[in-house]
Amino acid sequence: MRNSAFQVFKQALQGDVGWKPVWRSPDPKPEYDFIIVGGGGHGLATAYYLAKKYRQANVAVLEKGWIGSGNVGRNTTIIRSNYLLDGNEPFYEFSMKLWEGLEQELNYNAMVSQRGIINLFHTDSQRDAFVRRGNAMRLNGVDAVLLDREALRKECPFLNFDNARFPILGGLSQPRGGTVRHDAVAWGYARGADQHGVDIIQNCEATGFLISDGVCTGVATPRGQIRAKKVGVAVAGSSSRVMAKAGMRLPIESHVLQAFVSEGLKPIIPGVVTFGAGHFYVSQSNKGGLVFGGDIDGYNTYAQRGNLPTVEDVCEGGVAIMPMIGRARLLRMWGGVVDMSMDGSPIIDKTHIEGLYFNGGWCYGGFKATPASGVAFAHLLATDSPHETATAYRFDRFSRGYMIDEKGMGAQPNLH
């Protein structure tokens, strides 16, 4: 069923009993051309673009739990393409362009809202660094605006401009940045993939890979072996655990990133504001809650919850830069396990095992990359060559010395 305003009216008049489930729950077939392990945003997007853009009919997505139960439902919903380095910026801008057309592409309301993102700066040298980043963005055709103190004050009068430790001198703005309803991204891609014939198989964990003579020919699951010509793994957060089943070690540590939502408040924060120096960023959801977060807890963990010192640190940062939120009450907090790669950038690459492909290492920035990651991984799976925007995301960049050290940090050196 195609979603439209007409459908909404028609169904409402009929008591809303005509809506159907938007994806099937098929039994796995014994063999597929492509199996995607991981039914999160990236896995579902990959399956969707494999079927739609690369015209592959025989595709399955295996998900351990239910689709969207991992990081696509745990992030803080921000989209942006304000990167510095050549290996990153074209990729994230490609992603931003896909976000801008996503709802029409999927015929699904993902609540893409380009309300803008502002990174605050506090010193002359930090402003120089942001000017450089803004110029790099503009060289790549991306919008970037440097706001001085007065221009910023017009947009965000509530900020604590005269903070003694971090006085606010201005901000780097990307007006096209914004937020997206994260669950709807998973559901929209799932619906689109299903409509193009992809089998989405939930509650079906990949417990092992079928590998002989260096060739991967499928995956083992509790529902039996499923053979495939190519297997793509997109399970960021659990990448090391899953790839260990293929005997691989990765340049990745798993860490927990916490996120928070306050009680609902009247509209006050215009877009996304990041206070990097104080480990805090915030936006306001359409329901009015302040959605905010900070940095990773900083130790290896697979528990999807963090500890109180980080909660305290994030809230201190928030109150320092926006004293008014000191009176707001925290409503919910949660944690997601993220793949911290060693240079802070992702990997979309073949492995040394033929027929086994990997997508992961997204650190704390995977959500904004979802559409581009899907296209790039689908491109790699379908054509065996990297997508033009994702040529730098290679496994061997660490041994060759071509790290993409956007901020000079991955899991280490504790600069978070």
Binding site: R249, I252, Y299, N300, T301, Y302, N307, P309, F398, S399
Partner: protein, 95 residues
């Protein structure tokens, strides 16, 4: 998380700085023929264990000792704490 320091007793994890997998104690020999490959493994590749994980913590806001903490990465339960010095000597590092 509470880390039970071998001398100072139970201390809040907030007093510590985390480094990572305790295998980082064993830095490869830079003079060896395979040093390039060995350092790539040492610097970038990780076991990233889900379960009992031996890891290095530095008691930065305490006695500034390095500890090897055995901790379950699925539950955050701290199972064992030793001085990294003792572990390194026992595992054959001379200094």
């Amino acid at each position: 998380m509470i880390i039970t320091h071998p001398v100072l007793g139970p201390r809040d994890a907030q007093e510590f700085t985390y480094l990572g997998d305790a295998s980082l104690i064993h830095r490869p020999d830079p003079e060896a023929d395979d040093a390039t490959g060995a350092f790539h493994e040492y610097l970038y590749q990780r076991e990233n264990i889900a379960g009992e994980h031996r890891e290095l913590w530095f008691h930065e806001q305490g006695d500034r000792s390095w500890l090897v903490v055995t901790r379950n990465t699925l539950t955050h339960e701290v199972l064992d704490v030793e001085f990294a010095n003792d572990v390194a000597r026992r595992e054959g590092r001379s200094q």
